[in-house]
């Protein structure tokens, strides 16, 4: 039996009804958005279900969308089914003022450092994480550098007169 994206979607809708939104398929991968309160339930369902069996957390990261009011931060999960070789992506949107998301470390050990990385760069607060502290940046850092409010210098700017390092 091959697991199609339509079937996965149908199973998810049966289970969670209207809670899951924004179903779409891009480059052959099904993706959707889940409410922050449901992220663990969705993952547990995908993990436990006999047919779905998404038991490998390929990747976990975050994205900052400053223009989406009250949903500025997205935590992105990539799950994988080894048997059927199917990938799936879902996002959890949280406001930047209250970026609380439940940790996936109870389900996947691999989530530990990936969540620490997302905390380090985006400030996502993973509730229940065993060791939520900075991982790649220095501990003394007081901001979250991958957020869009810290732009890198525009390479095409011309107002800067710098004889030594001018461009």
């Amino acid at each position: 039996m091959s697991l199609t994206n339509d079937y996965i979607k149908q199973r998810l809708v049966e289970k969670f009804g209207e809670a899951l939104t924004n179903f779409e398929e891009s480059f052959g991968v099904l993706s959707f958005a889940a409410p922050a309160a449901l992220n663990l339930k969705v993952m547990q369902f995908l993990y436990d279900d006999e047919e779905l069996q998404f038991r490998f957390l390929t990747d976990l990261t975050a994205v900052h969308y400053p223009h989406q009011v009250d949903a500025e931060l997205a935590v992105v999960y990539h799950l994988y089914n080894f048997r059927e070789k199917v990938r799936l992506r879902f996002k959890v949107f949280v406001p930047v003022a209250a970026p609380q998301v439940f940790t996936a470390t109870k389900l996947f050990e691999s989530a530990n450092w990936m969540e620490r990385e997302s905390y380090d760069f985006f400030g996502v607060d993973f509730v229940g994480h065993p060791n939520l502290k900075r991982i790649l940046n220095v501990d003394e850092m007081t901001y979250f550098p991958m957020r869009k409010e810290f732009p890198l210098e525009d390479q095409s700017r011309i107002d800067k007169d710098d004889e030594m390092f001018g461009r």
Binding site: S26, F108, S110, W113, F121
Partner: protein, 405 residues
């Protein structure tokens, strides 16, 4: 037997029964800049705490300001033992986003370079496992051939370690006859050295005793910890991106995925060795397949993304326009969101790319395999001897550049 002697120490003189040992950040046995704070009881490791991030260079942030073709040099510096795979993984990701179809010859040339890179990565790792167990000779046998592989890269792209090889759409120039001669030379001579290396190591009593059962992990735990690549396969899971989601025409090749069973250092060593033989066979097949294809094709016909010949830039209006647009990063990029993975030398190297149609990615995330599986290190070495912890570290094939991004 006399009765056991009890030594009565003054109250409070022994505060702690264990010793704290800083393994790294600049210890020669760590083969990279990362620190492990080991709590040891005698010579037995009670717990380990890893600190990473010493060479963090914020590539994901930098990538948000760079046009797509300028991100390739950033990927070089992830896993610098096999940078061509990273480069090509990035090209393949962008090509997937833009819907570029590369000709078969480009695919096969890429396969040759990627498999060479896999061999160079594995030979370093296995050589270093040998060095850490006290056998320096094998490392040197293999190292000569890394030099030859680097000469091949040099012939193709001009540089050796951080290669920046290829472009979006193909290669920057065609392979020279010398490059093919060197690949043939590699194919002819490397098997002898690898055979010699295997004769030296594989059934060597000391090596087997030092590595068997060290740093073992079950398939279930390995999957839970997000292991990929040879480390996962050594635990017995036959997951390989080249087979599961073929890219760059890997489906045309006939090869097997070596798997281990116990997931210990010895199995990891065996899997890497077996993979080198498979890679050699893939390169051989690719060389044979190339014979039937037109020899002057080395890039896809996508003038909007692939730099034109320099001669044409001076003489043709269109070529000049495209050249300008590409160099200034003004090529049209489609909006989209995708995750694309290639089988890196130490695991699944993924690129999660969000494009909003601008000149640079909106967000680019590298799924760096060793960052994810290194978390398992404390579990792997718990209760092991200190010297075993060192072998375990080198047999995981950690590359500091990739770990810290």
């Amino acid at each position: 037997m006399s009765e056991q002697q009890h030594i009565h120490l003054p109250q409070g003189s022994v505060e702690k029964q264990t010793t704290t040992l800083n393994l790294g950040p600049t210890h020669p046995a760590t083969h990279g800049v990362f620190q492990n704070i080991l709590e040891i009881d005698g010579e037995r490791v009670m717990s380990a705490e890893s600190t990473v991030g010493y060479i963090h260079r914020a590539f994901e942030k930098i990538a948000e300001r760079r046009p797509y073709y300028q991100i390739t040099p950033l990927t070089d510096r992830l896993n610098y033992c096999s940078s061509p795979i990273n480069n090509m993984g990035w090209h393949l990701t962008v090509e997937k986003l833009l819907g570029i179809q590369t000709p078969k010859r480009v695919d096969y040339l890429r396969v040759i370079i990627m498999e060479l890179a896999r061999i160079t990565d594995h030979l370093i790792c296995n050589g270093v496992v040998g060095v850490d167990t006290g056998a320096f000779t094998g490392f040197l046998y293999l190292m000569q051939f890394r030099e030859l592989a680097y000469e091949i890269y040099e012939e193709v792209c001009g540089s050796r370690l951080t290669t920046n090889i290829g472009r979006i759409g193909g290669f920057e120039r065609n392979f020279t006859p010398v490059a093919f001669q060197k690949i043939e030379k590699f194919l002819a001579e490397y098997p002898k050295a690898l055979k010699e290396f295997e004769t030296l190591m594989t059934r060597n009593r000391i090596f087997v005793d030092r590595t068997t059962g060290v740093g073992a992990i079950s398939a279930e735990r390995a999957m839970n910890y997000g292991f990929t690549g040879p480390n996962l396969r050594a635990a017995g899971v036959d997951y390989d991106v080249r087979v599961a989601h073929p890219y760059s025409s890997y489906e045309d090749f006939d090869f097997t995925i070596p798997v281990g069973s116990t997931g210990d250092c010895y199995d990891r060593y065996l899997v890497r060795n077996a993979e080198m033989w498979q890679s050699l066979s893939i390169i051989r097949q690719a060389m044979d397949k190339l014979k039937g294809l037109p020899e002057d094709v080395y890039h896809a016909d996508v003038p909007a993304y692939y730099l034109p010949e320099k001669q044409d830039v001076y003489n043709k209006m269109e070529a000049l326009i495209y050249h300008f647009k590409i160099i200034m990063g003004e090529s049209d990029i489609l909006p989209g969101e995708l995750y694309n993975a290639v089988e890196g030398a130490n695991g699944e190297l993924g690129f999660y790319l969000i494009s909003d149609g601008g000149r640079s990615p909106y967000r680019l995330h590298f799924r760096r395999p060793c960052f994810i599986y290194y978390q398992a290190y404390p579990e792997l070495v718990k209760g092991a001897m200190l010297s075993d912890a060192i072998i375990c570290l080198s047999s995981l094939n950690l590359i500091a550049g990739e770990l810290d991004a």
